[in-house]
Symmetry: C2
Subunit: 341 residues, 2 copies
């Protein structure tokens, strides 16, 4: 099957880019030194590619992601790297762990999240530490007491996690390195207080400048996006939303049948494969200018942010070359089976 045979909009991943990006990261962060974050791609078939590259521990952001990974039999060691208070949902994970389906660890940062994990029958946790981005995580000075509370509740504390997300997209290399170092110094001190052997954190943007974590939580690197591409990392962009030109205006603008319901817009509008400019995105359409398109052409849009773009789609089509428009060969079609909550 060719890309030209697919109904549009269609999400396409470049097989060669995927292979190279996975290999580049596996060389830098082999096996357990990487805990790939499935929130970036929400697809167990893609997770299986990473397992094939030697990574057997994974990060998840939602309980559904954890359950889906267990169902697919991928990942011996799954970390829910997020605070969850929903005891029913946590109990379902505890059952899976209790049945020996996978090792499941949950992030906690407060007495409330510890109480929820404990009530649900969760047995293993990481203490999530705020390392400078105002999101989840306890204050660094409280990490030791959070760990004590968890242990008092009968939980095994495997170590700490802390995400230096405020530095992840910093374009200037020196600024990024310095910021990552400051955050990781905080995390290292918290790790000393907490104990355990896991120090989890980092991401695509700090993959080669975070020497503190024992496992890197990166996901976007596998197919990248426009936002990360600004950092000049050794990973290539390999994901596009393919649209069909359904109308060409007198002034030369063309209209694709792929709009902002198919593309994340939080980090800006998409770029265009093969030249030209995006004029604007509407719900179901993108108007493009600066090229010579005809009705029926297949045109690729390069998303600014990979995670929420993929989560809008039901399928990812693996193709032999995303630059070749409708003539590209569709090698495999994978369900985005971990989306939703």
């Amino acid at each position: 099957m060719k890309v030209g045979d697919l109904a549009t909009p269609a999400l396409l991943a470049d097989a060669g880019v995927l292979e190279r990006n996975v290999a580049t990261m596996a060389a830098a962060r082999p096996g357990p030194a990487l805990r790939p974050h499935v929130k970036a791609f929400k697809c167990t078939s893609l997770a299986a590619v990473l397992e094939g590259a030697g990574h057997h521990a994974f990060c998840c952001a939602t309980t559904r992601e954890v359950e889906g990974m267990v169902s697919a039999g991928i990942g011996a060691d799954l970390l829910l790297a997020n605070e969850v208070l929903d005891v029913r949902r946590l109990a379902a994970l505890a059952d899976l762990a209790g049945n020996g389906m996978a090792r499941i660890t949950v992030a906690v940062d407060s007495s409330e999240t510890i109480a929820a994990a404990s009530a649900a029958g969760i047995t293993e946790v990481l203490v999530d530490v705020d390392v400078g981005m105002p999101r989840c995580g306890c204050q660094p000075g409280e990490a030791g007491s959070v760990a004590d509370t968890a242990r008092s509740a009968g939980l095994h504390v495997r170590g700490v996690m802390g995400y230096e997300g405020h530095m992840m997209h910093e374009v200037d290399r020196d600024t990024r390195e310095e910021g990552v170092a400051r955050s990781m110094a905080i995390l290292a001190r918290a790790a000393d207080e907490v104990g355990g052997d896991v120090v989890s954190g980092g991401g695509t943007g700090s993959f080669d400048c975070n020497d503190t974590v024992t496992e890197l939580q990166a996901g976007s690197y596998i197919l990248m996006d426009r936002d990360y591409a600004r950092l000049e990392l050794p990973f290539e962009e390999g994901l596009i939303v393919s649209g069909t030109v359904v109308s060409v205006g007198a002034g030369g603008h063309a209209v694709l049948d792929a709009g902002l319901k198919a593309l994340a817009m939080d980090s800006g509008p998409p770029g265009l494969m093969g030249g030209g400019t995006v004029l604007f995105c509407a719900d179901e359409h993108t108007t493009i200018v600066g090229g010579n398109w005809v009705v029926g052409d297949r045109v690729g849009l390069r998303p600014a942010h990979i995670d929420p773009t993929i989560s809008k789609h039901e399928h990812i089509h693996l193709v032999d070359d995303i630059t070749s428009g409708g003539d590209a060969e569709v090698l495999e079609t994978w369900p985005v089976d971990l989306r939703g909550w």
Copy 2:
């Protein structure tokens, strides 16, 4: 069931607001004077509410929306208000129309879209006219010849459509009225050239200043969003994404488990119910400041753009009062059954 029992993030619609908005529009545009656009809400249960208010003709943006409406038995007269070249998909609609399941009309704006409709067995079309926004639609001066081409291909031309989308969110009332009038003058001339009895167009923002169309294509009015709320229309905001506070930082910031995968960001970040400010949205989280939240609180986020927010969710929960947090009663839960492509 209470909102506090729902897993989060959860999409909530206010039953009273929905009822009042639907009634206000039905009074202004009764029965066939409104062709509600299901792309805004992608939910046949909501479409059924509109049918109950006397509207039996609907707009769709995708073939899946048309098929879903037919499956649900809602809408005697369905307009695919979009250009589609995919003959297989159009043929599926033609089969439904041929079997008497619904009257199905398709927008065309070129010889290519006419050829696709004709090849698929579609029998009825509207000529889509560019009335000033660079998106789909033929040039106004070509509308007559497009209609001739369609008739030569054996298609029944019911009339014209043209969307003045570039004026739809114009906040200044006078500017909006003038712009709508300019666009509709273009559409009226094209209608004279094309013939037929349908002049379709407009939207929520022009509901009371577009006197040209025989049927208004509005959808957002039913639950509104922050972007449309700036226009001071007589419709209320009635849709929120409900999140749970999963973490509270030392500085007083709180973190909700609802982020940009649950909220459209193309028209800006969400607002907050009950005071406080959104600091930023991440994939799975929203950090909020300026309130006194505790872990476990339910907090509502008001989306900036309704259409792509709803399309991210599997369900809409109809509640008795979106302002009452976790104590609100869940009256009904409706699948967002028309999402995807």
